[in-house]
């Protein structure tokens, strides 16, 4: 039986968008950019930390310890930042987001359970890193378990968000996994040609983020570490970033080859070719900055490296958004919904956002002062 996937898109909300589309998508992309940093650190970072703790030398183990000690905070921030894109996705992309996630409801729902175990696993592991504590077998297992769970979670996320735009897969998935038209929620979007390269490309990008963060951490937070550690970190970051770059490039090319023809045409012709090129070449900038610090990491360049990597992530997030809209445009124009502007709540939110940011800056400033004091 044949089915046109467009038939499966429900009517628009009679309430309309509460703000113009550009506002919603700006916060969605900004939130995703912020989310990507910590997300990369747990996606690739925990796995690397486990590997180096098991098979690495003294400095590698030191790096692993440093990263994992920071991981509870990194995870909290990553989850927190992830709420923003999820919120705005549900405002602007609800007509495809809900059906896609319902079709794979159980795997999607399982993210909550897996995340809980993964997060507690990190805490259990970290208790073994405290001064005087021992990394018991159980604690090591918890760390490895978390690393694997975070990789699994990232796969499920990729699955959900690729299914959101891969509407042509919906009819078959639905009919294969439903009871009298009601989905059991057991589908997975594994037949999508974009899924694997997209997920693996993200892993390559995650490796570069871990590398950039290694330099940032060594230059900003780890200044009390030994010169030997600093040298090791610079060397390790360069190698890791290079591997990440190659991985990103190979998977990126694979990913590009799986795009629908119209998406490829648009992304590779003017004016979007500029964005595509910047996204592809962008990771070269942090690589150059890391290369320039291969002998010595400096605080200023380390901060620049972090900033450059943030720029790379932002470019990636923007490109993903543009591509997502192109892919969806065959079925749905997300920019065309009416707007019923909620002006006063929007102003209150923006005012609170600015005040909140000020308070965060004040708090971080106090931490910075504390860090500067002798131990």
């Amino acid at each position: 039986m044949t089915m046109n996937p467009t038939e499966l898109i429900g009517p628009p909300s009679p309430l309309g968008y509460p703000a113009p589309y550009w506002f919603l998508v700006t916060f969605k992309v900004l939130g995703f950019t912020l989310h990507m940093g910590p997300m990369h650190l747990w996606f690739a970072g925990i796995l690397l930390a486990m590997i180096l703790m098991k098979w690495g030398g003294t400095e590698a183990q030191r790096w692993s310890t440093r990263l994992m000690r920071q991981m509870p905070v990194i995870i909290a921030l990553g989850i927190n930042f992830g709420i923003v894109p999820l919120l705005f996705t549900q405002v602007a992309y609800y007509r495809v987001f809900y059906p896609a996630t319902i079709l794979m409801a159980w795997p999607w729902f399982s993210i909550i359970v897996l995340l809980t175990f993964a997060y507690y696993g990190v805490y259990i592991y970290v208790t073994g890193l405290k001064d005087g504590a021992k990394l018991t077998t159980l604690k090591r297992a918890a760390g490895w378990g978390s690393a694997i769970l975070f990789v699994a979670i990232s796969f499920l996320f990729s699955n959900g968000f690729s299914l959101m735009t891969h509407l042509s897969a919906w009819p078959q998935l639905w009919q294969e996994t439903s009871v009298a038209g009601a989905p059991l929620g057991t589908a997975l979007n594994t037949s999508d040609p974009t899924l694997w390269p997209r997920w693996l490309m993200m892993f390559g990008l995650a490796l570069t983020t871990v590398a950039a963060y290694t330099v940032f951490d060594a230059g900003v937070f780890a200044r009390r570490e030994s010169a030997g550690y600093q040298r090791w970190a610079a060397n390790f970051a360069l190698k890791l970033h290079t591997v990440g770059l190659i991985w990103f490039a190979v998977m990126g090319l694979w990913y590009l080859s799986t795009w629908p023809a119209d998406a490829r045409d648009q992304m590779l012709s003017s004016p979007l070719i500029v964005l595509t090129a910047l996204t592809a070449l962008g990771p070269g900038l942090p690589w150059l900055l890391i290369l320039s610090q291969r002998r010595q990491i400096t605080q200023r360049l380390a901060m620049l490296t972090g900033l450059a990597q943030f720029g790379v992530l932002a470019l990636n997030a923007i490109s993903r958004q543009v591509l997502q809209n192109i892919e969806l445009s065959r079925f749905l124009d997300v920019t065309a919904e009416p707007v019923n502007l909620q002006l006063s709540p929007l102003i209150v939110f923006l005012a609170l956002f600015v005040i909140g940011l000020g308070v965060v800056v004040w708090m971080v400033g106090k931490v910075w002062q504390a860090e500067r004091q002798p131990a």
Binding site: I9, V91, Y94, I102, I112, A180, G181, A182, P345
Partner: protein
């Protein structure tokens, strides 16, 4: 109807929301009250230069972070996850109405996370005044989160003038807002004290310090209990008439209300006799018992809060089966199968012989073979009824509820559910579709139990 209906055998998908929501509130209230406890008590410990108490508070702060920042935060996101899967239309409505409410809450959530980590990880490294400021920033932010999310959840029970005006603020400051903020603030104070008793009873060996902790946590607990009572009364007063009627009519809710009433009195008595009059009674066993009773009261309260909304998810805005009230008349005319995005696609794909010009021809539905008619009846059940009913076994299983009913009785119920039970949404299909659903229900309904006179 606009979205696919997630079929969760035995349990029904909305029950997952209830489970996650209950698991979350047991910690989210502690995240608020515990923050206030840490702010007040850290100030007290600094002021009295009580180093033992400060050490305990640091220990408690670690426990607090482990419970609230991990479990609390993830289950909070989990509620969101689940409502989108189980009640997508209601979620769509809430998000389009309150996206900036959630965005505001998010700002406070960021402040909570940052201040909580700094408060704990920089313990002893910050100036005491700055350290206390971190605790107060956390406490205020957490309470504001409570206020903001309560505006949205209270809206679901009584949206006030919102359906007519669609005004954000009228929806947010709905009739249930103040009572629920009072009740939840009280709940946060009360529950956090129970967490403190529990934690201290296991962690503190020094009897003097344990007595100090017990006695200092009793006032917030008692104040909290009073707030819960006052807020609960306000909640009842501002309930829509249908919710009050549901509370009186449903036997399970009657039992829960009696349970809540009896256990709340028990908590009062235990607080008075234990921590207030005899702080040394707060042993691990006593604390565990008090904690268990407290969690039971909270769980029952949350279940009641969720259940009394029937037949709505959002009162007068979205029915529990994902239909907007204003759609019912059209669906009765056009047909539910045709009106539903996913049901119409299903019928067109599977039964092309009942479609004409891409539309479902209602008059042809009853010409299908009997098994096909029952199958379409099952489709109607999945989309129209399975939000609240399992099929043959499980939560409110329809087959068990209809046991022994005649086909005529079942058909009458299908066509007039809201007249049989006011807490059921109205039938939103054509007479032909009612016939299909009836045939399906008759096919799964077991006979009247044997052996009865």
């Amino acid at each position: 109807m606009h979205y696919p209906a997630w079929y969760v055998p035995f349990l029904t998908s909305p029950m997952l929301i209830a489970i996650i929501a209950i698991l979350h509130v047991l910690v989210s209230h502690y995240a608020v009250g515990g923050g206030l406890f840490l702010a007040v008590e850290t100030r007290y410990a600094y002021r009295t230069n009580n180093k033992e108490y400060l050490a305990y508070l640091k220990d408690h702060a670690w426990f607090f972070i482990l419970v609230t920042v991990v479990y609390g935060a993830i289950t909070g996101v989990g509620i969101w996850w689940t409502i989108g899967l189980a009640s997508p239309l209601a979620t769509e409505t809430l998000i389009h109405t309150f996206v900036f409410g959630w965005a505001m809450e998010y700002v406070f959530f960021v402040l909570e996370i940052v201040s909580a980590f700094i408060f704990f990880y920089y313990w002893g490294r910050l100036d005491p005044k700055v350290h206390q400021a971190m605790a107060w920033i956390y406490a205020f932010s957490a309470w504001m989160s409570l206020v903001l999310i309560t505006g949205i959840t209270a809206f679901m029970l009584n949206p006030g003038a919102w359906p007519e005006t669609k005004n954000f603020w009228l929806g947010f400051f709905n009739p249930q807002f103040v009572p629920q903020v009072i009740a939840r603030t009280g709940g946060a104070l009360l529950l956090s004290s129970l967490y403190v008793y529990l934690h201290a009873s296991f962690r503190v060996k020094d009897a003097t310090l344990r007595d100090l902790i017990a006695s200092r946590s009793t006032l917030p607990a008692l104040v909290g209990a009073v707030f819960v009572t006052l807020g609960g009364l306000g909640w009842y007063i501002f309930l829509p008439e249908s919710a009050k009627a549901a509370l009186a009519a449903a036997s399970s809710l009657n039992i829960f209300m009696v349970l809540i009433f009896a256990l709340t009195i028990t908590v009062f008595v235990m607080l008075y006799l234990g921590p207030l009059r005899h702080p040394n009674w707060v042993s691990p066993g006593f604390a565990l018992l008090l904690f268990g009773i407290g969690l039971t009261v909270f769980s029952a309260g949350e279940f009641v809060r969720e259940a009394v909304r029937k037949p709505y998810i959002i009162y007068n805005v979205v029915y529990s089966n994902q239909i907007l009230p204003e759609e019912v008349a059209t669906l009765r005319e056009r047909g539910y199968l045709e009106g539903g995005t996913w049901t119409s696609a299903w019928v067109r794909a599977r039964y092309p012989n009942v479609t004409q010009s891409e539309q479902i021809d209602e008059s042809k539905l009853l010409t299908l073979a009997e098994p096909d008619q029952r199958e379409l009846g099952k489709v109607l059940f999945q989309y129209h009824c399975s939000s609240c009913h399992a099929t043959t076994e499980g939560y409110s299983a329809v087959a068990q509820l209809l046991r022994g009913w005649t086909p005529e009785m079942i058909k009458n119920l299908v066509q007039n559910p809201e007249k049989f039970h006011f807490f059921m949404p109205p039938w939103a299909g054509t007479p032909e579709e009612a016939e299909l659903l009836t045939k399906y229900l008759v096919s799964i309904t077991p006979p009247r139990p044997g052996g009865m006179k």
